[in-house]
């Protein structure tokens, strides 16, 4: 635990695997840049690995003023204990005021371990971060410029804003895909600070025997248009309607958790709180009732079309275009309308 340090920097943990930077540190740098500017402090990334110096330049291009670079052969592969030790030591040494992690599996494995070691607070899975003031109810004391850690809780039914008054750093994991990645600026210059660490086998209690990675079949985050089907589509065969509509729009096909659980579509395509968070220009929800967990993953879409035969389906609450009707009739009509337009042009 460190105490309140107003001069402390804003940090982003730069998750990388095998020399490949994850998307989350880049997404975080965009938001963290604004937080650091609001606070008038420097933005730094912490980069741990072996032979990863190249990535430091990239982090600077995406907005970091500084990169704390920790290279060690024992940091080649991610392990909870070794990474937590290095991060905890760095936090103790530099006393940053904010430390952000992507809420990836690695981030969610690592950040709580660091929080526990440093006795700092940690808020999971934030969807927004802001700087703001807080007045305590008890004694009316004003705390200025705190990190507002905003996250859905209670299955997505409430939005909680969490703060750390006295025990810093203020740490949070941030959900993948909710922060817009900044454009890189290759002319940006920054400082790379090389940190020496001592590690031994005791810091690596795990033996990684084998790893199997399968590339994601679909990149929902990058899709401009998404056509998503839910339980209402009825069957895997009928899910062809979703694919057909997606194809004629050049869109990515997706599914709700219910559709994935029913085996209509692969889990790589899942949108929602437990799937991917998306923000396309157009989101077409076909036979999706729109449970709050689903909405958590798509409500930021620019335009939403909902097709459902139940006029009370919650999805209609956030839809811009509500089509109450049988999807088996509506979707073919949409395909026809789109095809006639593209033929006409």
């Amino acid at each position: 635990m460190i105490s309140v340090n107003r001069k402390g920097e804003v940090w982003v943990f730069a998750e990388q695997h095998n020399g490949q930077l994850e998307d989350t540190p880049i997404e975080l740098l965009g938001k963290a840049r604004r937080l650091a500017d609001t606070l008038g402090v420097k933005l730094a990334a912490t980069l741990l690995g072996d032979n990863v110096k190249e990535l430091a330049i990239k982090l600077i291009h995406y907005g970091a003023d500084k990169v704390y670079l920790v290279e060690h052969p024992l940091l080649q592969a991610y392990q909870t204990n070794s990474f937590a030790k290095v991060m905890s030591d760095l936090i103790g040494k530099y006393e940053p005021q904010i430390v952000l992690y992507g809420a990836t599996i690695t981030g969610r494995d690592l950040a709580p371990r660091i929080a526990s070691a440093t006795k700092a607070g940690l808020t999971a899975d934030c969807t927004d971060l802001q700087i703001g003031d807080h007045t305590t109810v008890k004694d009316g004391k004003l705390y200025k410029s705190l990190l507002f850690q905003i996250r859905p809780a209670f299955g997505g039914n409430i939005i909680a804003t969490i703060i750390n008054l006295k025990r810093w750093p203020q740490m949070a994991t941030v959900r993948e895909g909710v922060m817009l990645p900044p454009e890189p600026d290759v002319t940006r210059r920054g400082e790379i600070i090389t940190e020496k660490v001592k590690l031994n086998q005791q810091n690596l209690p795990l033996e990684i025997l084998q790893e199997h990675k399968r590339p994601r079949k679909v990149d929902l985050k990058a899709a401009r248009i998404i056509v998503a089907g839910g339980a209402g589509v009825g069957s895997k065969e009928n899910f062809k309607l979703v694919w057909d509509l997606a194809n004629c729009l050049g869109a990515a096909p997706a599914g709700s958790r219910a559709a994935v659980d029913l085996g209509f579509i692969d889990s790589d395509h899942q949108v929602g709180q437990t799937g991917t968070t998306v923000r396309p220009s157009l989101y077409i929800a076909v036979g999706i009732s729109g449970a709050i967990q689903h909405q958590a993953g798509m409500s930021q879409s620019q335009k939403i079309i909902a097709i459902n035969n139940d006029p009370d389906a919650p999805i209609f609450g956030i839809a811009h275009y509500k089509i109450i009707g049988d999807l088996n009739e509506v979707v073919p009509k949409m395909i026809k309308a789109i095809k006639s337009v593209s033929r006409g042009s």
């Binding site: 999971a124 299955g155 025990r167 795990l206 025997l209 399968r214 789109i338």
Partner: protein, 303 residues
């Protein structure tokens, strides 16, 4: 070789069962209308412990930190095959965030002789997945999170497969270890009839007191206490007492518990309101749909 397992479980409101019936007119959720359930992935953690016990032998202790009502999930664990149940309940635990919770749980777990600590990956009320790793750090043991399969357990060494998002990873480590278990790991068994017969009378002392109070509304508090102590002693003799621990018993430093032990505070809670914004009804006919498509093209939403 037998292994002793400690399983940490939590009673949670069933946030997945949110239907129109539990929604207020303003679009917020009526929490009290939600049933309290055994956190789903904690059942997977318990099942994994039971499988370890089936194969290698050993002792399973389940612990929950919560209100007296959480006794229900402890009984449920006993019905499914746990050997020992502990209700960690103390008003001074209130307002604990994940860090304080992990500290309190660490004090409790340290009182038990364990080889493997198991938790569900996350609880459905908070979805934080933090307490497991925070507890592993406090216990000073390695963690394997997102466990989807136990590959091997022999000679005090465990090999497990964990989900890494875009694939899986197999890791090996020496015991003791803390595992967080996902729903993919197994299908939790149902309660066994024989165990239900044995444990249906299992109660923690605070539950017994509550029962006696309801049965004898006019009795003096000292009388209730004495009756409860006698009843609990009987249950203990039958081997069906749910143990009740408080912060004094586990020798927790109060400054690390509850509100004072929690660095995070709530600034504000907002209900998610399913508010309608600017929206249009589209007729489900050719004309309505064609108009919508043209509007989207004009707005450059569709290229």
């Amino acid at each position: 070789m037998a292994y002793n397992c400690v399983v940490l479980i939590k009673q949670v409101p069933d946030t997945k069962r949110i239907t129109g019936e539990v929604m207020n007119d303003d679009g917020t959720v009526r929490r009290s209308a939600l049933p309290a359930i055994f956190n789903p992935e904690d059942l997977n953690a318990l099942e994994l412990a039971l499988q370890i016990k089936d194969k290698f032998g050993g002792h399973i202790t389940v612990i929950t930190m919560g209100l007296p009502a959480a006794g229900a999930i402890l009984r449920d664990s006993l019905f499914r095959g746990a050997d020992d149940a502990i209700l960690l309940t103390d008003p001074r635990c209130a307002a604990s965030d994940t860090l304080a919770t992990s500290y309190i749980l660490s004090c409790a777990v340290k009182k038990i002789d364990y080889d493997i600590v198991l938790c569900g990956r996350q609880a459905i009320d908070g979805d934080t997945a933090q307490v497991g790793p925070q507890l592993a750090e406090k216990l000073g043991i390695p963690q394997i999170t997102y466990v989807e399969q136990l590959i091997e357990l022999s000679d005090r060494t465990i090999t497990a497969q964990r989900n890494i998002g875009n694939g899986w990873q197999q890791v090996r480590t020496k015991l003791p270890v803390l595992l967080t278990v996902t729903s993919e790991a197994n299908e939790p068994r149902v309660a066994a009839a024989k165990k239900i017969m044995k444990y249906k009378i299992a109660l923690a002392p605070c539950e017994t007191e509550q029962q006696l109070k309801t049965q004898n509304p006019t009795a003096a508090p000292e009388e209730i206490k004495a009756l409860a102590a006698r009843k609990s002693a009987e249950l203990e003799q039958k081997g069906v007492l749910i143990k009740q621990w408080n912060l004094d018993f586990i020798k927790a430093d109060l400054s690390w518990c509850g509100q004072s032990g929690s660095p995070t505070k709530v600034h504000r809670i907002q209900s998610v309101v399913l508010a309608a914004k600017e929206s249009k009804n589209v007729e489900p006919n050719d004309q309505g749909i064609s108009d919508m498509i043209h509007e989207l093209i004009e707005d450059k939403i569709i290229a």
